[in-house]
Symmetry: C2
Subunit: 452 residues, 2 copies
């Protein structure tokens, strides 16, 4: 037979078993923490009608979309989880309770240029809170606390959630008499990337702002280097634009309640340079940076929007949400050697080796231990003893149980802890309890190690 | 703005939140039980190169495949999880330990004719054990116990795992002098569907077998109506075909050890009519039927195969696996009213209602409870009191906490259990423990209710 060379498409992450267990643990941590805040899981199709998925049309992403025909149908693979959410809420609004809090962890597709660390198939992990007509500002203060709790549970320590408010920025530009605020927002959003000099040149040359206006913008942006500076700058401009004042009230409220929601002061900052390029956002905006790796950029971004589903329904559905680019974050953590291999775990807790022809006692032991919640693998292949122990060792299975003639005669089980080489003998009924204690000692390693 | 009508493609399951929580619980139960047997999770891309995915070529499925181009690439969506597993093992064989035990729960795509209860995007939940060159028969006895444990954990009670052996059937046909055994196998596989009369006619007319041979086939098949009958029939034909004897030994071994692996006698049966249409299977084969709903057909099928990845590698990789068509099973259980809504759960355990202007104390209470593992939602929308309680009620959130002037003054929290209307007052520190006890009482409902 002529063989086909097996390969996985470039830009598609496919992990080996230990890394996949880490990824599963990552996702399970997200689910558990999202659920602590009352978010309900959602699952929508990966394929949608192109008419529905591309209702908004145009934009940067359109070229990247996987779009194809099947029979008469014009189909596309989802490129984010927000558009499917908008469709879902518009379609099922009558059957949902608002505020509707959902999370979704799922694969999305973008045919980007192949490049190291860029993925064409990747997981996003989104949370959103959708209101019916209105949505209280408190929700905007709560969202960062979900991210804080989740990242802390993963073990990530040195990160900062930066918050800003688009109304505040818009009002500030209004005060300065700027006519095209969204162009200016897109430009200041690049400050961290291009630096102050370059940004100033862009404002002057490309957008035609005056020197004085550029100075004032830069001074304002730099004020938010500290929380005190940010709050002082807010007070300085108060009373000159209704939009500014609304944004200021919102930003101060969000900052005020973040502590009550459990986010310590060092984990967040007001940052006037966070604008988020998208016009979609209308109030609070978020970015999250790893403090030791600012070059990675934001690993978790989002914000407040006024109309989730305006392409599908005239019902006003404001919301606030945030998204983790999970595949990229996992990749980056791996690249930075920040994933702790001790947390990857093994596929089983115990390998049972039957040493006689009759596998019955070993099967019954495995069954009893599984009943007690121990993850047991039976190894019955015809291999030398050393190969069997080597199998457990290579897989990281911490304990091996032997059932030889002696054990069958005495009714006991011999268990070896591979890390120490210690052997002990147990009545089968005692083994599960002993293992549970031993395994508890080994658990608790967080997935992400502390940065040095 | 012109609105686009939101819709979800037909043949694509999209659940409302309560049903999605049930589906998530279903999948979590599968994961937990698969892991008790040492299976490691795997995740492979949904898109593969068509050349790789269709290496086997032809067949019924090819017309149903979602195949398209992106740039120069000829791509296809996976239509099962077995071909991606074959690719994965062939590609990464040097980095895996054998036997390699993996599970994968993922979406697959088949463009079937739209029909009620037929899905074009559906989850499969597969477990496989892959050996390197050889794989012990004990693995074939263990696989049904994974299914038994998983179904029992879900609450499914009246089901039967039917086992057979392709070598035994092949040897039997050899003894009868039948020249095209695979045609006969495909025909007897239809016995349950078409009945004995029709099957006999097919054997006589379409395959040209004699009356005497048909009689002997039917007699043999009917012998497996009971385990005793099956074992007697096996003994009757022993010694006349090497293939039959090998199959007989395997089948008897598998049946013998299933009890040791925890499968009670009433949950499995030897059934000579189980042939599985596919030539792919070479030894033990499995089907699982719901005893009260035989019309549904097999909800979980699989078997032993000799060469997982023969299209990709000359390395011999025998294996055994079984697959649950999860989306269809979930749909069928719903149709049969077998899903227990009490097990769907709520998105949160407690709804906290701040009753004063300062949300701080409510936010701090929610934070402390979340720290203790309670799933808490804060409700801050400007609605009437009744609407707030109604929100909890409609979502099934069992407890509501009030923080009004009285509570703030006394430092206590009032909690109402919606099902009983009972109200109690707590020190914030006591609340988590009390809720944990109350929630434990409510937990434990299995997802699938007992058939009547």
């Amino acid at each position: 037979m002529e063989l086909v060379k097996p390969r996985t498409l470039s830009g598609f992450m496919e992990l080996l078993p230990p890394e996949e267990r880490a990824m599963q643990r990552f996702m399970q941590t997200l689910r558990q923490n999202y659920e602590l805040y009352g978010f309900t899981p959602l699952d929508t199709p990966i394929i949608e009608s192109s008419e529905v998925l591309l209702a908004k049309g145009g934009g940067e992403t359109e070229k990247q979309i996987y779009r194809f025909s099947k029979g008469d149908a014009d189909l596309s693979l989802r490129f984010d989880l927000t558009v499917p959410l908008a469709k879902y809420v518009a379609l099922h609004a009558g059957e949902l309770q608002f505020p509707f809090r959902r999370y979704q962890i799922g694969k999305v597709y973008r045919g980007e240029r192949a490049q190291r660390g860029r993925f064409r198939e990747f997981y996003q992990a989104d949370i959103d809170i959708i209101g019916d007509g209105k949505l209280d500002i408190i929700n905007e203060a709560e969202i960062p606390s979900v991210i804080y709790r989740t990242f802390a549970a993963l073990g990530l320590e040195r990160f900062r959630i930066r918050i800003n408010n688009r109304k505040l920025l818009g009002g500030f530009f209004e005060i300065l008499g700027i006519e095209e605020p969204s162009e200016v927002m897109r430009t200041i959003d690049k400050l961290e990337k291009v630096g102050a000099e370059k940004m100033r040149a862009m404002l002057l040359d490309d957008l035609g702002l005056s020197d004085a206006v550029c100075d004032e913008i830069l001074e304002f942006l730099e004020a938010s280097a500290t929380t005190e500076g940010a709050l002082a700058a807010i007070e300085k401009y108060r009373g000159r634009s209704e939009l500014f004042d609304t944004g200021a009230d919102e930003l101060v409220t969000v900052a005020r309640y973040m502590g009550d929601f459990g986010v310590p002061p060092e984990a967040f900052a007001i940052d006037f340079t966070i604008a988020r390029g998208l016009d979609y956002y209308t109030g609070t905006v978020y970015e999250t940076v790893m403090t030791d790796h600012p070059e990675i950029g934001s690993v978790c971004s989002g914000g407040r929007y006024d109309n989730l589903a305006e392409y599908y329904t005239s019902r006003k559905l404001p919301g606030v949400g945030i998204s983790i680019g999970l595949t990229r974050l996992f990749y980056v953590l791996g690249e930075q050697k920040l994933l702790d291999e001790r947390a990857y775990g093994a596929p089983a807790d115990l390998l049972v080796l039957p040493m006689t022809g009759d596998v019955g006692p070993a099967a019954r032991l495995a069954t009893a231990l599984r009943d007690a919640g121990v993850r047991v693998q039976l190894y019955c292949e015809n291999k030398k003893f050393g190969a069997k122990i080597g199998y457990a060792d290579k897989l990281g299975i911490p304990f091996v149980a032997f059932l030889g003639e002696d054990e069958l005669a005495s009714g006991k089980v011999t268990v070896k802890e591979l890390a120490t080489g210690e052997q002990s003998s147990f009545e089968p009924g005692e083994l599960a309890g002993w293992l549970a204690g031993k395994l508890a000692e080994r658990a608790g390693t967080r997935l992400i190690r502390a940065a040095e």
